[in-house]
């Protein structure tokens, strides 16, 4: 294929993939900027529950805290308990779902003080401003289908990036990196800005787009795991006899302790109760995070028998789920403190700018071509 033909194909790909993705990508940049600071915003708006000050109140066990949530939700059952001592010290997030549900679509979080077993007031995360932004950003208000739609947008942006680099190559033969041709008309200045800022955020955009594409398949990948690996585990580990899913003989805190005994140095953060899409009928699925480095982000699971407390299996997730797990922090930029968040915002805004000015360049070129065509037509 000749260079000229390659250039024209990539120009076409860059133009149309970008134009189709533009309205969606603009929205993603705006909502993404807000979501970078979701923790700070939620805290400022008072949506983050706080542990109550412990006075002379009776100290209760974590099991009592879960029982208090169960008692307050008689038509639901506990399906997951989450504990994050860094973000929410002294608190448990207990997820309850309709009794016959095995999935998490209709689950709601109830916050409870782990020491006093006192239920805490908290807003429905789906109805907070950041919750609504997240639903728009991640699912386009369409549920799991919206996630796949998001992946499609990411794919278009990825095509736009790669084709953009190909058509950028001949451009930089003539223009030094960072030169902005002021005084040569708005079109050339905007073109220089588009190429310059595009080059600056190329690496960041590549990371955010690839991770966005992977995250779009999160729910599907979870379903695949549930129907393959977990299904095999179920047939290997499940024994005859029904288990009381609402009141398993072993509590989640005992499951946590058993998992830590089996994997010293690992930190349990979540226990999925028996009888869900992510656990067997008789086992807790306990999520264990490592102490530092990449293991802080990449959990492994321990299947703890809810009858006996024995750890029947410990394993890492398959590669496709690990990739999706790592994609989350890399996409949202929330793993490196304030400095990284500021970098993420700067790159988001530059991406926002080049998306908008790219659309303007296309419109301006079209308008010029149209007026040239009209001027060339013979007067009737």
């Amino acid at each position: 294929m000749s260079n000229r033909r390659l250039f024209r194909i990539n120009l076409w790909l860059h133009r149309w993939s970008s134009l189709v993705a533009t309205p969606f990508f603009l929205l993603l940049c705006i909502t993404g900027t807000v979501l970078i600071f979701h923790e700070e915003i939620d805290r400022a708006l008072g949506y983050v529950p706080q542990a109550s000050a412990h006075g002379s109140g009776l100290v209760r066990t974590p099991g009592d805290a879960v029982a208090a949530v169960q008692a307050a939700n008689p038509n639901r059952r506990v399906i997951l308990v989450s504990r994050d001592e860094d973000e929410h010290p002294g608190l448990l997030a207990v997820y309850v779902a309709p009794k016959n549900d095995t999935g998490f679509e209709h689950a709601k979080a109830v916050w409870v003080d782990a020491t006093t077993a006192q239920l805490l007031e908290s807003a429905d995360p789906d109805k907070t401003p950041t919750g609504i932004f997240l639903e728009l950003h991640a699912q386009w208000f369409m549920g799991p289908l919206g996630e796949v739609f998001g992946a499609l947008i990411a794919l278009l942006v990825l095509i736009s990036l790669v084709s953009g680099v190909v058509i950028y190559a001949p451009y930089v033969r003539n223009i030094a990196f960072g030169v902005l041709r002021r005084g040569a008309g708005p079109r050339l200045l905007q073109l220089d800005l588009h190429n310059f800022f595009g080059a600056v955020v190329l690496g960041w955009l590549f990371v955010v787009t690839c991770t966005g594409f992977l995250l779009g398949f999160g729910t599907i990948a979870q379903g695949v795991w549930s129907n393959t690996e977990l299904k095999a585990l179920k047939s290997r580990l499940e024994t005859p006899g029904e288990l009381d899913r609402e009141h398993p003989p072993i509590g989640f805190d005992q499951a946590f302790a058993a998992a830590v005994r089996a994997q010293p140095g690992w930190r349990p953060t979540q226990a999925v109760y028996p009888g869900t899409d992510l656990s067997t009928a008789q086992h807790y699925t306990v999520l264990l995070f490592g102490a530092k480095g990449i293991r802080e982000r990449l959990f492994r699971i321990a299947l703890v028998n809810a009858r006996t407390g024995s750890v029947d299996d410990v394993r890492d997730l398959p590669a496709y789920l690990q990739a999706i797990q790592l994609a989350q922090p890399l996409h949202f930029g929330d793993y490196g403190g304030l400095a990284l968040k500021i970098l993420w915002v700067a790159c988001s805004w530059l991406a926002l700018f080049i998306t908008g000015n790219g659309a303007w360049l296309w419109w301006n070129r079209r308008r010029r071509a149209e007026s040239e065509r009209v001027a060339a037509e013979p007067a009737t």
Binding site: V165, Y168, A169, P170, V172, R173, N174, I175, A176, F177, G178, V179, L180, F196, F197, A199, V200, V201, L202, G203, W204, F206, V207, K292, G293, I294, R297, L326, P329, L330, Y335, G336, A339, L340, L343, A346, C347
Partner: protein, 58 residues
Amino acid sequence: MNGASNLRLTLILAVVSVAGIIGMLLFDGIADSFALLLAATPLLFAALRLWQHRSGGD
């Protein structure tokens, strides 16, 4: 600087930035700060180039 060098520079900046972004996820401590510097390199370099051109350099 010629055209090929300009393209190479752009790609190097992108690779350095990706390395920094991933490095921040992998490392702790001082390596983490170094990775942040790598991640921010394209922005810092861009700011420097803009300042150079505005003050009539290059």
